[in-house]
């Protein structure tokens, strides 16, 4: 299951979707908006995405992880638009018979999502600067 949404992510519903009598382990990951990055203060984050492709890529992650780790269930959700401080931009919930698979799958999903899924965050800094985040790019002039 995958979902892009402009609404807050609901971890309780996410967990309920993967918890199962066939699973012995549930791992939930939330990526949340952090206030300070190397001492610099964030006011808020805005996420934008190439929606059609982001959904395809998320679907690909779900399918690959589900097969590779024999998951019982797998849910990946990403919020777009503004994600205020402390709230979640991404939710991954997986379940599996044994815990090692659930941990590995959730980590792989997050690592791969951060490389491949066409979603971008725009930092709104407390010092007034606004910038799109593009890891690995030389800083803008």
């Amino acid at each position: 299951m995958i979902r892009l949404t402009d609404a807050p992510l609901d971890s309780q519903t996410g967990i309920a979707q993967v918890q199962s009598t066939q699973a012995g382990a549930v791992v939930l990951f939330l990526g949340t908006t952090r206030e300070f990055t190397r001492g610099r203060q964030t006011l808020t984050l805005i996420y934008d995405g190439y929606r059609e492709m982001a959904e395809r890529e998320l679907q690909r992650l779900e399918t690959t992880a589900s097969e590779r780790w024999s998951l019982t269930a797998c849910l990946i959700e990403h919020r777009l638009g503004e994600v205020p401080l402390g709230e979640a931009s991404v939710l991954v919930a997986v379940s599996s018979p044994h815990r090692k698979d659930a941990f590995e799958a959730a980590q792989w999903i997050m690592d791969t999502l951060k490389q491949d899924v066409p979603i971008w965050k725009q930092e709104h800094w407390a010092d007034g600067q606004v910038e799109w985040v593009h890891p690995g790019l030389p800083p803008a002039e």
């Binding site: 395809r56 931009s89 491949d116």
Partner: protein, 81 residues
């Protein structure tokens, strides 16, 4: 034919628009398109070596052929999650 290239994030900001239309005389590769974009939208030139291009919502290599009707997108390094 006209190839539409969708732009996102810093690419959209640099170009000042969401879509770039490029008129081409014949079929071309993603690599050709990358070179054309740099010429026709100079503001994008510094970013282009760092972007991946997608054709019909899949990442494409520079050897991929672009056909009429394809949706091309310019994907700068992503930062979701």
């Amino acid at each position: 034919m006209i190839v539409h290239v969708r732009l996102f994030a810093a690419a959209r900001e640099l170009a000042g628009r969401e879509v770039v239309e490029i008129l081409v005389e014949e079929a071309l590769t993603v690599g050709d398109l990358r070179a054309l974009l740099a010429t026709q939208v100079p503001a994008l030139a510094p970013l282009l070596p760092h972007v991946r291009l997608a054709v019909n919502s899949s990442y494409a290599s520079d050897a991929t052929q672009v056909a009429a009707g394809d949706e091309v997108a310019c994907i700068p390094p992503v930062s979701g999650g």
